[in-house]
Amino acid sequence: MELTIPSTIPLQAYLALAAVLFCTGVWGLINSRNAVRVLMSIELMLNGVNINLMAFSNYLDGQLIRGQVFAIFVITVAAAEAAVGLAILLSLYRNRETVDMERFNLLRW
């Protein structure tokens, strides 16, 4: 397979980038022990999805750009999620004095 540099950036490059970001986010979400890092991983995943949406919007839906509208909704929801998530984290920290995910196990069966 010979390597040729394309004159324009292909859609697949953005999709691959988004996949990297998303998978990193998933891995961080599963493995982080610090609760703040879990929230950050969620943000990474949302951003990966957003890159996908924007790439599709530019390459496949250039006139209607519905992907951009969707990305704005995702950004909105992400902001709300971050605010509530961090508030929950703060009250958890106040009660348990720790941010270790492994010790938030009250609801464990």
Binding site: T24, W27, Y59, G62, Q68
Partner: protein
């Protein structure tokens, strides 16, 4: 191949490099503060990618909301809870990391395969470019009006929820003993110099 496309390519490569390295740093770095600052870098490079994708408005919104609000919020949270804390070791952590890494790798391969085998309808219609802001506004106030309004309600709800959750002086019950405790009183005991009411 002209100057514009070379510039674009260089920008893309640089942005994706910072993006990937930053994301790995966010997940892997032991110091949580570094992770948070790197997260800001990731958000900024994502905004740069949006600029490459002819979406300047969304890029600006990304910077405004993610860097200006979410990242600062996360940093505030870290500064509030950043206490030296030795996490207890958990058996089988390495195996767990390895297994989840394998799962994530598999997910990544799956995504790549889908991305490269799907016959995308390329080239699509011409991109609108600078008129995107107007288009987004039209969308938001016509066919996406309901989600738009719902988003505003969601933001209001989350704002109130966050304030209620993060307030100190709410009555809550102790998680272990179940008796009613006043968070404000607990805080006051801990910090006897705390004022009775916040100074006006």
């Amino acid at each position: 191949m002209n100057i514009a496309s070379i510039t674009q390519l260089i920008c893309f490569v640089a942005l994706s490099a910072t993006l990937v390295l930053g994301a790995l740093g966010v997940v892997l770095l032991p110091n949580i503060v570094y992770s948070a600052f790197l997260l800001g870098g990731v958000f900024l490079s994502v905004a740069g990618l949006y600029l490459l994708l002819n979406a300047s408005f969304v890029a600006a919104a990304q910077v405004l909301v993610y860097v200006g609000a979410v990242n600062v919020l996360i940093l505030f949270a870290i500064m509030l809870v950043n206490k030296k804390e030795n996490l207890a070791a958990i058996p089988g952590l390495g195996l767990r990391r390895l297994l989840s890494g394998a799962v994530c790798g598999g997910l990544f391969l799956l995504l790549i395969r889908v991305a490269f085998t799907t016959p995308w309808a390329l080239p699509g219609p011409e991109a609108v470019g600078e008129e995107a802001t107007i288009r987004i506004g039209e969308h938001l106030f016509s066919d996406y009006l309901l989600p738009f309004e719902l988003a505003s309600v969601l933001l209001l709800m989350s704002m109130i929820g966050a304030i209620v959750l993060a307030r100190r002086d709410v009555l809550s019950s102790d998680v272990i003993t179940g008796e009613l405790v006043d968070q404000g009183l607990i805080e006051k005991e801990r910090t006897p110099l705390l004022l009775e009411n916040s100074p006006r």
